[in-house]
């Protein structure tokens, strides 16, 4: 994994620009990054990859002697979260790819996160050890047991400093609850429960209990021949512990209230935008499929990502979104080709900034898009070392959809559809973003930082 980071991302609202910093560091990661997530405070950034590994980066503390390193993220911990498994009953291989990582709110010195592959969720504890006990009575310093008969005096072990060691240990394994592929996990605001969603079901877990979960949503038809819709994403409300939303492959979002019923098969609210008849096509359903749903930090809005756009919904209005931002509308005329090469099924994620004033999502050609909700300005940037000189500002990119291509514009036909940015994350407080481009991780920071 190549990690490029530095000052100067600026924000969409101002004319300040995004840039890579002078100091960059490289980490080798063999596999494609499959998820990126900042912790609640933003000091830690976790990535998961197709090989089942989790790499956690930590932001460096402010250091006056090294002003350039202020705010840089460095590797903090690396561990193998999931291994490939084999389901003997079904004779199926279970991929070790990490689909999602979600941090738990910090309570104490140790940090906890949930990571999941297609079938199993694990709770990991990440803790630091910077002291070592010496002077045991029953064992030597090298760990060998001492002969009790030879112990003539007792001593009190003392703690001595040691080089910082970060340990990751699995504390809970939540398995055997999903027949279909897990696409989402979400920690509840009660800090005690979380949900896991697969294609047809959503289960509610208690973080302390691994041998059972409660099924709260089940859209599996009695007759599988009637299956026409699957669950694509799910999330708990950030403040109301009884509220959750889940999106579907038909472009609908259902809000459920667990207080109304133990089983949330019947939704409390149903969000769907009527199809525009003028743009109806064979691919209408595919491009309307919601690949990601995220509540705003305020909890008043939610954002959905479908293939061509990002939509912001007011939870109080189900009939249509309050905002629609076109990500790459120039692809609408290419949908057949994108269907042919399966790109139309790519699942892009989206994220809010800390103040909910901006949103970000990825696109192709290592492009990612940012939208300012207050000024309605948007910008396209590229996560690429080749096109980014150190300390230079990232130049906004433009795609030429047709006609004469201007200088510095990229033609639609020259877009590289193998370079897709599916996973992005925004620091919960500051203007720092993490962008995963295949097996490279880019971290951009605001110059003002």
């Amino acid at each position: 994994m190549l990690v490029c980071q530095g000052p100067g991302i600026g924000s969409v609202t101002h004319k300040s620009t995004w840039a890579l910093g002078a100091r960059t560091k490289k980490w080798l990661l063999a596999d494609v990054i499959s998820t990126v997530e900042f912790s609640h405070s933003g000091d830690l950034l976790a990535t998961g990859d197709k090989g089942g590994r989790v790499v956690i980066f930590q932001r460096e503390q402010e250091n006056k002697s090294r002003p350039h390193s202020r705010g840089e993220y460095n590797v903090y911990s690396t561990f193998q979260s999931h291994e490939p498994e084999f389901d003997y009953l079904k004779s199926l291989e279970i991929e070790e790819k990490i689909n999602k990582i979600r941090w738990l709110p910090q309570q104490g010195a140790a940090r906890f996160l949930l990571s999941t592959n297609d079938k199993t969720i694990k709770l990991w504890k990440i803790s630091e050890r910077d002291k070592r006990a010496e002077g045991y009575n029953l064992k030597d310093e090298d760990g060998r047991l001492r002969d009790p008969l030879r112990i003539t005096a007792l001593r009190v072990p003392i703690l001595k400093p040691m080089d910082l060691m970060v340990e990751a240990s699995p504390r809970r394994i939540f398995a055997n609850a999903h027949t279909y592929h897990i696409n989402s996990i979400s920690v509840n605001s009660d800090h005690e429960t979380y949900l896991s969603a697969d294609d047809l079901r959503i289960n509610l877990w208690h973080l302390e209990i691994t041998d059972r979960s409660f099924n709260i949503v089940d859209i599996k038809p009695a007759n599988m021949e009637e299956l026409t819709e699957v669950i694509t994403a799910a999330e708990f409300h950030p403040h109301q512990c009884n509220v959750l939303v889940y999106s579907s492959s038909k472009g609908t979002i259902r809000l459920c209230d667990m207080r109304s019923s133990a089983l949330c098969d019947r939704h409390s609210k149903f969000f769907e935008e009527p199809e525009d008849p003028s743009s109806r096509s064979f691919f209408s359903e595919i491009i309307s499929s919601v690949s990601d749903v995220k509540f705003s930090h305020s909890g008043r809005y939610m954002m959905t990502r479908d293939y061509l756009s990002v939509k912001v919904w007011d939870l109080n209005m189900e009939s249509r979104p309050v905002e629609t931002h076109q990500v790459h509308e120039y692809l609408r005329s290419k949908l057949c080709s994108l269907y042919e090469n399966d790109c139309i099924f790519d699942k892009f994620e989206c994220c809010w900034n800390g103040s909910d004033s901006a949103i970000m999502t990825g696109s192709y050609n290592n492009f990612f898009r940012m939208f300012d909700r207050t000024t309605w300005r948007d910008v396209t940037l590229e996560a690429s070392r080749e096109n980014s000189k150190p300390r230079a500002s990232l130049k906004p990119r433009r795609v030429c959809a047709g006609g004469k291509r201007k200088k510095d514009e990229v033609s639609v036909d020259s877009l590289d559809f193998s370079k897709k940015i599916l996973h992005t994350a925004w620091h919960p407080v500051e203007n720092i973003i993490a962008v995963a481009a295949t097996n490279n991780l880019y971290i951009f920071q605001d110059k003002a930082n």
């Binding site: 498994e85 084999f86 003997y88 009953l89 079904k90 004779s91 199926l92 291989e93 699995p170 809970r172 394994i173 939540f174 398995a175 055997n176 609850a177 999903h178 027949t179 279909y180 592929h181 294609d199 047809l200 079901r201 509610l204 691994t210 041998d211 059972r212 979960s213 409660f214 089940d218 009695a222 007759n223 599988m224 021949e225 009637e226 299956l227 026409t228 699957v230 492959s249 133990a262 089983l263 003028s278 109806r280 096509s281 064979f282 359903e285 595919i286 499929s289 005329s333 290419k334 949908l335 057949c336 080709s337 994108l338 269907y339 399966d342 099924f345 639609v412 036909d413 020259s414 559809f417």
Partner: protein, 238 residues
């Protein structure tokens, strides 16, 4: 439905030759102004074939991506609806059964069986009039629930169900010589097999019929333990 080798070859040629994305309008709704000059019947047929190809490819996976499968099937239905008035087309498969077939595959897929299915699909791709094929037990509803009701004209997709009718078994005798076919009785792959280890998804309101499932699972485990020394998968918890 007919997938002639000629059509398949044409599709492969189109795929190989296509690099840059082309502007497509012919797939738009026939009522769309942009399609005024396009040959919708031929274009729809091409898209239909592409979709069928995708469906077959998806079903050949040991564990198909359910979302991909459902979207492709729904797209196929949409295309089929537009193509329905066309008399030149052979009987269409009843696509809603595809997810059921897929689900059965999900519940009971076996690598060798899937490979056999794939080769069978290829061999049968040129065969016409598969509408009389016996109906597979595609539903993983409660055990014992009658499956019936599937429309007759399923075509090649019909044969994707495991342990089904005589056509499948008769055509693949040699492939299963070394395999204990008792494992593939479809009753054993009923929904209870979803909780084949513990069953944590039994919530307060989600109750399926446990008794028959446990017996079936016990039988299945006996077969597995008896036929091959399988390493027990690790249990839950840490």
């Amino acid at each position: 439905m007919m997938l002639s080798k000629g059509l398949k070859r044409k599709q492969e040629e189109e795929e190989e030759g296509k690099e840059a994305l082309a502007v497509d309008t012919w797939w738009l709704d026939p009522g769309h102004p942009a399609v005024a000059h396009a040959p919708p019947a031929v274009a729809s047929r091409s898209l239909f074939d592409l979709s069928v190809l995708k469906l077959h490819h998806s079903l050949r996976q040991s564990e198909p991506d359910l979302q991909h499968l459902v979207l492709v099937v729904n797209t196929l239905q949409r295309i089929q609806a537009c193509m329905a008035p066309t008399a030149a087309l052979s009987p269409m498969p009843s696509l809603p059964t595809a997810p059921g077939i897929a689900d059965n595959l999900l519940a009971s897929s076996d690598a060798s069986l899937s490979a056999s299915m794939a080769s069978l699909l290829e061999d049968l791709s040129h065969i016409e009039g598969l509408s009389q094929a016996p109906q597979p037990l595609v539903d993983e509803g409660p055990p014992g629930r009658p499956i019936g009701g599937a429309p007759p004209s399923l075509g090649a997709l019909d044969l994707l169900g495991p342990a089904t009718g005589c056509l499948l078994v008769d055509g693949l005798e040699g492939l299963f010589e070394d395999t204990d076919t008792s494992m593939y009785d479809s009753e054993l792959w009923a929904p209870a097999s979803e909780g084949h280890k513990s069953s944590p998804e039994d919530g307060p309101g989600k109750e399926e019929a446990p008794e028959l499932d446990e017996a079936e699972l016990d039988y299945l485990m006996d077969v597995l333990v008896g036929t091959q020394a399988l390493e027990r998968p690790p249990g839950p918890g840490c």
